[in-house]
Subunit: 710 residues, 2 copies
């Protein structure tokens, strides 16, 4: 059978299909409003280029197409099969599709994992069926996939019921984990004249995930930008690779990622059973791969509007042209709040502007043309041109309001300027003439309805410009051969001494500490270390020493050491009877420096990460931490450090000497290597790490390591 | 002459007029497009109820009105005179208006303070002219004032050229310090169906200020809300009083206040020569008076849309009804990010919802109706009703998208529900049917186009509800009789010992410190205080002791005190030759507690303020400070403390004992009283103040006071 031959000739896990030449619609219906009728109608209305094979034993013909009783009866190999039957009938159909070598199933049917335990079992059965085959599956419980370029609308979203002409193909892709909300965002964009080549809803993600779809769209030469709505990623490493590919290719990925807050995460888990993961790790992933995270559909719309113009922003300096001084002030505020700069214009620019801008306006940035330019079109053209030519501007933002009487003429000027401008030009037009603005948008000119929204969009453009400029990187996890670490603790915990010993192997400096097994050893150690000293009970099963009263600070003489030795052991044993004590750790007192925390852990979605943050009492109060998904690249540890709120202290605030940032970075890198080399380590934490003056190094005052348990 | 009699019968500084029965248009023109023609046209088109008197010696008649050669020739007393002549001709006209007892001049003419030094002098002359009289002046350089209820359009903004029917009067007022930007915002609101009774631009604020206009609009029983654009307030105390009046009356004041950032402030100063003042003091003023600060015109539009519904929000718990699980998740995130809560529904509510909500939806908050409700109108009505009846919801947010086919029916349900609901109901409708939504808005139902914008608006409603619930207060400055403070320092500085002595009079605890005048005195003092001690050079003209090496910490014995005594005096004198040394302050070492900073200063706009913030090295790094404009009310010092980022540390984070917050609050109140009693004190700063464990008090480790100099 040709279909089966077709199937066996391909490799095991095939690439996702974003287009098809042959489509079977299983459960096809002649009723346009039924779930099995809609794709028939949309394929026709969007002029699908390929062949359509309705499958339904009850009909001979649907919509002019010959109808087949089953997939096996179709003579052609099938690229894509839409399954639009109730779940009660679906399993044998999926089996048949696999047998017939269908390359990809788009499964509209619901009643699977989204409905509870029973549905989840049904979904497991489906996945087992496709498991050994090369057939891929989108869904179940999906609105489907649409390719607006080829007319391959394997999708029953109401977006495709918009009046003719509203939806048009464009150089962007859209993927959503939510059907309804995805449809709304997609519609909103379409109504603003923004075209998308793809609109894909992933549904339950039984097989094909949002990560794979991003990857596939980035590979499409006709796609310049990918937008999406995501509640939770299932395959973190694949997501990293896809986003990194997009970044390197200069194709922005703009995502709404919900689950930012505990409340949102809880809602997401009950909605699509997404693994919420840690939002701070998502933030790190986005920063590391240049993904642009937006808060809502309006911000997404704004970015798609701006970013499809293909013009990169090479810095953060913005030339502002305004017809209102008040708006100029508001924009100046917004630029600074969003990390952009009001460009300092070249003196020559100000001279040239003086010849164009009215006397009662302003020739300084923000340049204020006043309403005068409405009557003098040349004024707008010249001043935009002058600002674009200034070597100190990286983009130009033009603000205006109303101006209906002169709208056509302004639009003409904007078209002329945009056609030749090498820098991004963004227009913020409040209460402007709607049709003229829609036409400008359709012509690829970025017009937004609000100055603050325009500034936020420019800020994202600058962020992406910086991300794109970075070297390509790999997120592959490579471990060195190394002996595995073990502990006798049933919960996998290592004691402070064990943990520090492992860290020392990775080059992390260690204090001249001694693990004393008796009072006399403690006294002798203290003497050799030099007073004052610190005593700590060392035991894998006592991770919270301070709360147990198992730490004695600042002991100044032998008597103090002797009395502390017994006191802290008694405290610890009272706190945790049956404690497995290794000994008492005698350490010197370290003064000065800045306390930070450095750690590593394994994120359930993205794998190993490192963390650096404000230490001591400020760890929890400030929530000042930076995370990096591993592996890090050169210089990335320093970037994490610089992003901390506590960074000015490390850099030497208030006349204090700068701290040893190099040593801190080396500590972060050492923890990273430890996490990569030892998959059995689930967590490591150095808290506090005391970062001394530059050249003095960084010393771990306490450390904790936890190993995976079976 | 009747006009003059009319004038003299009134008190000196008259209230601002927001309406007029008689209007003179000086510089009136028959040309509708001229600045002197526009008000003639607008008064006619907006059916002004009073009498219009064009003044222009070149015409006998304009637009059917008899034209007068000058104001003196008008037989009626004139309430308002619009001055629309070039500045070259304006001065004698103003003089005539004053002579004729015109109650208020609305001065369109430009060429005054906005143009530079010469114009500023012209403006001074104008102001001298009206100075001794009861005549008030709006402007110069203003677009003017408009009362849409009475048709008193003394304004030449292009907003009044919108197509007939777009502008309608409503129960809100709008005031702007920017003409163009104000016009755009006002137009944007008008186009969304929001009516305003007033639209006023203040121009140069030679006489009438934005504060007075807010006050006057709040006094108007037909105004429920005041919106505005402000770059800088000139009369801080009047502004405080006006906003407090609005708060107490339950009338929200919604402001865009630019100059949030240094860049914005600089732009504002060059735009309207506004005194930028300190943005953190504005923030304090807004918080203390319940003013709602918004970032841009869209947020303003959203708040006006929501707040004119008159329904107060009595808490922060939101019931969410959605047709999309994805949007529900996004809303859950947005609620938490904006300080609101996803309401925990009463179990009875969930039971009732179970009878209404489809099985594949969600009966938990966010309640997901899915698209199913479109076909079943009763489902929407019942679930909204159930959520509104739940005692655990303070407002209900309903999200939907598209739904054009069912739009009319949904609108009907929303009208029914809103008519009887006692709690706020807000609709977030993405990509919905425009005309149906516009009609809903015009009927007073709050519909916004985005779920995150809806959540932000609800958050502001909750904030205003809380502000309105507070007791009325007065911002009058009342000082107790007290002897004035003096210093011999030419720059007005007081030494640490002098400063602490004054603070002690206000009940601020003082360490057992001694000001030693010799080495022997220092040694004796140290002995009586008890080791270890701290030595500090005390001199009014040495405010930065640490940098001068004039401090010795942690001296443990007599030898250390003797050597430090000379060393720090030598350091200080080398650092500042000719230093006026009072002595050396010997103080005990204070351990433990949390370091904060407490201070007082005089803001150029709002007068005396107090400040509390993170102390020590974190003062600058964290920028964690809270400000209160004086006088504070009972409990307000604690509120400032609770708003600090460092608050968890004070409250007892990480198992530490809580700090003496009462003592800290008492210190803030003492500084406040000192600032009120002593106008000669320009600044006081206790840094650090060490806040000890509860019951232990708070001790100033260092203090600095600066007096006004002539």
């Amino acid at each position: 059978m040709s279909a089966r031959n077709h199937s066996t000739s391909r490799s095991h896990k095939d690439a996702v299909l974003l287009d098809a030449r042959t489509v079977a619609v299983i459960g096809a219906s002649p009723d346009d409003n039924k779930i099995g009728g809609k794709p028939m109608r949309f394929l026709r209305e969007f002029n699908f280029r390929g062949q359509v094979f309705p499958v339904n034993p009850r009909y001979q013909e649907i919509g002019g197409y010959r109808c087949y009783p089953d997939v096996a009866s179709i003579e052609e190999p099938i690229d894509a099969a839409i399954v639009a039957v109730p779940y009660q009938h679906a399993q044998p159909i999926i089996e048949e599709c696999v047998r017939q070598g269908v390359r990809q199933i788009i499964m509209f049917s619901s009643g699977y994992a989204e409905t509870g335990a029973e549905g989840a079992m049904r979904q497991q059965m489906l996945l087992r069926t496709i498991g050994g085959s090369s057939t891929r599956l989108l869904g179940p419980n999906t609105l489907g996939l649409a390719n607006l370029e080829s007319g391959f609308i394997a999708n029953f979203s109401q977006a495709f019921e918009l009046p003719p002409g509203v939806l048009r193909s464009g150089r962007a892709g859209f993927v959503s984990q939510s059907g309804a909300f995805g449809t709304f965002i997609f519609t909103l964009c379409a109504e603003q004249g923004l075209g998308f080549k793809y609109f894909i809803v992933t549904g339950n993600e039984g097989d094909i995930t949002v990560s794979e779809l991003i990857d596939a769209m980035v590979d499409d030469g006709e796609v310049d930008l990918v937008a999406g709505y995501v509640e939770g990623v299932r395959d973190g490493r694949r997501f990293l690779a896809a986003c990194e590919k997009a970044r390197a290719a200069g194709k922005p990925v703009v995502l709404i990622k919900t689950g930012r807050t505990p409340g949102g995460s809880a809602a997401a888990m009950s909605h699509t059973a997404a693994i919420a993961g840690s939002d701070e790790v998502y933030e790190a992933v986005f920063r590391q791969t240049g993904v642009i995270r937006v808060d809502d559909e309006e911000e997404m719309l704004d970015l798609v509007t701006l970013m499809r113009s293909h013009k990169a922003m090479r810095g953060r300096r913005v030339g502002v042209l305004t017809m209102s001084g008040g708006a100029g002030v508001l924009i100046a505020d917004a630029l600074e709040s969003n990390g952009l700069e009001l460009a300092r214009l070249d003196p020559k620019t100000e001279e040239e502007l003086a010849k164009v801008v009215p006397e009662f306006g302003s020739r300084r940035n923000p340049v204020d043309l006043t309403g005068q330019f409405l009557a003098e079109p040349q004024m707008l053209r010249s001043s935009l041109d002058i600002l674009l030519r200034d070597p100190n501007t990286d983009a130009v933002l033009f603000f205006l309001g109303l101006g209906r009487r002169y709208g056509q003429q302004i639009a003409e000027t904007l078209r002329e300027i945009s056609a030749t401008a090498e820098k991004p030009v963004l227009v913020a037009w409040i209460a402007g003439p709607e049709q003229i603005i829609a036409q400008l948008r359709a012509d690829g000119i970025a017009v937004l309805p609000s100055p603050t929204r325009a500034v936020r969009a420019l800020s994202a453009l600058a962020y992406f410009g910086e991300a794109h400029a970075r070297q390509p990187r790999s997120f592959e996890l490579i471990a060195a051969q190394s002996e595995s670490i073990s502990t006798t603790d049933h919960a996998g915990r290592c004691s402070e001494a064990q943990s520090k010993a492992v860290l020392e192997r990775y080059g992390i400096k260690r204090l001249p500490e001694v693990l004393a097994r008796s009072e006399e050893e403690a006294v002798a150690s203290a003497r050799s270390i030099g007073y004052p000293v610190v005593l700590k009970v060392c035991a894998a099963d006592l991770p919270h020493k301070t709360e147990a009263g198992a730490v004695a600070l600042n002991l100044r003489d032998e008597a103090a050491v002797r009395s502390a030795y017994h006191r802290i052991l008694d405290n610890a044993r009272r706190h945790a009877p049956g404690l497995n004590v290794e000994g008492v750790l005698v350490s010197p007192v370290v003064d000065g420096g800045v306390e930070v925390i450095v750690g590593g852990r394994r994120d359930p979605v993205f794998g190993p990460v490192v963390m650096v943050g404000s230490g001591g009492i400020y760890t929890e109060v400030l929530r000042d931490a930076a995370i990096g998904v591993l592996p890090l690249v050169k210089g990335e540890a320093e970037e994490l450090i610089r992003s901390l709120r506590v960074y000015p202290l490390l850099a030497g605030a208030r006349g204090k000497p700068p701290a040893d940032i190099e040593a801190l970075a080396a500590t972060i890198e050492a923890v990273a290597k430890l996490m990569l080399d030892h998959p059995e380590v689930s967590e490591v934490e150095i808290n506090p790490l005391r970062v001394l003056e530059r050249g003095g190094g960084a010393v771990p005052l306490d450390a904790l390591m936890v190993l995976q348990t079976a």
